[in-house]
């Protein structure tokens, strides 16, 4: 990092993006590391606080109860993450535009109820019942969008109203019985409870991800070099792909000591990857960030801001419905308490703990995955210690407060380092 300035004279050609001699640029693996530590010091923490927090939580619970990090418990953990994690993905979308959806719990419960009624009571094909439930949820999201765009109703209020209204609708649909069991023989329940990747497939999949990471990085680096821009060196790319390979294979190996990697978890991870692509590599994603940063600026450059708001509300409600269906499948039943209690707050807390800002314009899809793992770890650890939900609520609340505090401090640090 220090020798960069001195060797610039010897370097005959500078890449297009490194012409400015005022800026320090590292090269190779050492340079990448130096840049990383500089980013940390300036408050650009990324996922680091969550990962550190997770390590602390896992260590503490492992000391308190050796069962915590057993393969059996971790397999359970991955399956428990999925439903609320998917809901949290939708929350990330809404938070990125600076809005909020407080009704995701009710909408998820409603979707579970719709699927149960149509599939079990009315004998519809499962796929059709699922599509119907998601479509209803999308209409709900569209409605929030219209209330916000046309009437200027704050999303905080409209979704709070929705929280109550759609809980009511859920109870109405479930009828007097209040609970519908989904048959264990159905594919829906098997998907959530019984279907796991065969071990060989989990290893192949982990290797495929590492190869894909390397290939896309290599292609990008080659294109950047051809265009005269700086690019990651092959050694950094190999290190990165190697880390992915070792990490994912280790996870797969450990989970395979018990039941293995659930298809539902693969589905959740795939949704995270897809949303990450949509948010970072498409015009829609760029617009979402722009609206969260400054809605007026976005409007002036010709972005259809109303459409962006409507789309994120619809995405959020739609994903809430998917999460609700997964929850019903996992429980093999839809009942009056589906989607109530802490589902709402856990989904929002997961997004915030994972690093998505409550104030809009900052965050990513991975925060839903990381955040929900933190929350479910706490929940699982406290259950293993035979502590009831009173402690779970208190500790989850504490962690949420801590996460927001870290976000606020990092935000201030970014401001003082001029990179809000």
């Amino acid at each position: 990092m220090t020798d960069v300035r001195t060797d610039t004279g010897a370097e005959p050609t500078r890449t297009l993006d490194r012409q400015d001699e005022r800026v320090e640029h590292g090269t190779g693996a050492a340079g990448a590391l130096a840049g990383f530590s500089r980013r940390l010091r300036s408050g650009d923490l990324g996922a680091l606080p969550v990962i550190v927090g997770l390590a602390v939580i896992w260590t503490v619970f492992q000391i308190l109860n050796p069962v915590f990090l057993s393969a059996d418990n971790l397999v359970n953990l991955t399956l428990e993450c999925c439903s609320v994690g998917v809901i949290s993905l939708g929350i990330v979308c809404v938070l990125l535009t600076g809005q909020i959806d407080l009704s995701v719990g009710s909408v998820s419960g409603l979707a579970g109820a719709i699927v149960a009624v149509l599939f079990v009571n009315d004998g519809w094909p499962a796929a059709l019942a699922i599509v119907t439930a998601i479509a209803v949820a999308c209409v709900i999201g569209w409605l929030y969008g219209q209330l916000f765009n046309r009437l200027g109703m704050p999303s905080f209020v409209s979704t709070l109203a929705g929280l109550l209204a759609f809980l009511g609708l859920q109870l109405y649909i479930l009828g007097a019985a209040g609970s519908i069991n989904i048959p264990f023989t159905s594919g829906l329940v098997s998907f959530a409870q019984l279907w796991f990747l065969p071990p060989w497939l989990s290893y192949v999949l982990a290797a495929a991800v590492a190869v894909a990471v390397f290939a896309s990085g290599f292609r990008l680096a080659a294109r950047r070099r051809a265009a005269g821009l700086s690019a990651r060196s092959i050694q950094v790319l190999l290190l990165r792909a190697g880390a992915f390979l070792v990490g994912l294979e280790a996870v797969a190996w450990y989970l395979n000591r018990s039941r293995g990697v659930g298809w539902m978890f693969v589905f959740f991870a795939a949704l995270v990857v897809v949303l990450n692509y949509l948010l970072t590599r498409t015009q829609w994603g760029r617009s979402v960030f722009a609206v969260g940063g400054s809605a007026e600026a976005a409007r002036r450059v010709g972005i259809n801001v109303r459409l962006v708001y409507t789309s994120v509300f619809m995405a959020c409600s739609g994903l809430a419905a998917v999460g609700g269906i997964l929850a019903a499948a996992r429980l093999a039943s839809a009942n009056q308490s589906s989607g109530t209690g802490d589902v709402n707050l856990n989904a929002i807390a997961a997004a915030v703990i994972g690093g998505t800002s409550l104030f809009g314009g900052r965050g990513n899809a991975w925060s839903a995955l990381l955040g929900i793992i933190v929350i479910q770890s706490i929940s699982s650890g406290l259950t293993l210690l035979n502590l009831d939900s009173s402690f779970r609520f208190m500790i989850t609340g504490l962690v949420l407060a801590l996460a927001v505090a870290v976000d606020a401090i990092a935000r201030r640090s970014r401001a003082s380092h001029g990179q809000a």
């Binding site: 297009l16 400054s294 972005i303």
Partner: protein, 303 residues
């Protein structure tokens, strides 16, 4: 409205700033009323390619209204806008952009959380379903290079840039639409000395590119530093068009509508106190200027 290819931008640079034969933009008798208030009355203005025209005036003189008329925010009640030789109506902001009139408003309208590349191409990204970040970054560097802009990295969020750099980004973004006329609303307000110089340099480079630049400003020093012509508005009317060699007093007289005003009295006092401070004699002397000495818009037409 698609962003230009690198070849296009090079062509734009090599386009010679031809002599002020035919104005690119000509306003004839533009009027705008808000209820009982006449914000603009009978405004004439010509802007040629490769020319910087400054619009100055006191608060409430109608500068902002005129900018908004040109940007398509307000529709004029009367008069004619001639763009590239044919009369046009500017119904809304997108119509202005489609014509080739780009406006950089004072608040710049940048998204602070996004980086420079994202801001430059916001709303007009290359390959909307699979963003071509490499191509966008190359074009961003190319564009900033042509403007000789000193931006350390196009991958830093706009929040970390200085005021002058942000102004540069906003101007560079407006150039992506290949405008013929660019309107800068108070480009140097709230900027420091060095940053102001940076922006003034940038305005000169816009002129070299063959663009017509309309610059609205309160700052007489900045205006006289770069403007080829200075149009004064007073109470919503034309109050003279001056050449670049105009004196401060002449402009101030035209802006305030009186030869004896607070500014001339102040400079006269200073001239008496320090007669050898190098001020040209014309500054101290009474110089009514307005109706007689100035080049009026009609005069320009006759040339």
């Amino acid at each position: 409205m698609s962003p230009p290819t690198p070849a296009d931008t090079r062509a734009a640079v090599s386009r010679a700033p031809d002599a002020a034969t035919e104005p690119v933009l000509a306003l004839r008798g533009i009027g705008k009323r808000f209820g009982a208030v006449s914000a603009l009355t009978d405004i004439d203005l010509d802007v040629s390619a490769g020319e910087v025209v400054a619009i100055v005036g006191d608060n409430g003189a109608g500068k902002s209204t005129l900018v908004k008329v040109l940007a398509g925010v307000h529709r004029p009640d009367g008069g004619e806008i001639v763009f590239a030789g044919r009369p046009v109506t500017i119904a809304d902001p997108s119509a202005a952009i489609a014509l080739g009139i780009a406006t950089v408003f004072q608040d710049l309208a940048l998204c602070e959380n996004l980086d420079v590349v994202a801001n430059l191409f916001l709303g007009h990204e290359i390959a909307p379903t699979h963003l071509d970040e490499v191509e966008m970054e190359v074009r961003a560097w190319g564009l900033l290079g042509e403007l000789s802009a000193r931006i350390p990295s196009v991958r830093t969020p706009v929040a970390s840039l200085s005021g002058g750099q942000r102004q540069t980004v906003a101007i560079a973004r407006s150039l992506l639409g290949e405008p013929k006329i660019i309107i800068l609303d108070e480009p140097t307000a709230a900027l420091g000395v060095a940053q102001t110089a940076e922006v003034l340099d940038l305005i000169e480079r816009l002129r070299e590119r063959g663009l017509g630049v309309i610059m609205v400003s309160h700052n007489m020093d900045d205006v006289r530093a770069v403007a080829d012509r200075i149009a004064v508005l007073r109470l919503g009317r034309n109050n003279g068009v001056f050449g670049a060699d105009v004196t401060q007093d002449q402009i101030v007289s035209a802006i305030t509508g009186a030869t004896d005003n607070a500014v001339t009295r102040r400079s006269a006092r200073r001239a008496h106190a320090a007669p050898t401070d190098g001020t040209p004699a014309a500054h101290a002397g009474p110089d009514p200027a307005v109706p007689t000495d100035v080049t009026t818009t009609e005069g320009v037409d006759d040339d």
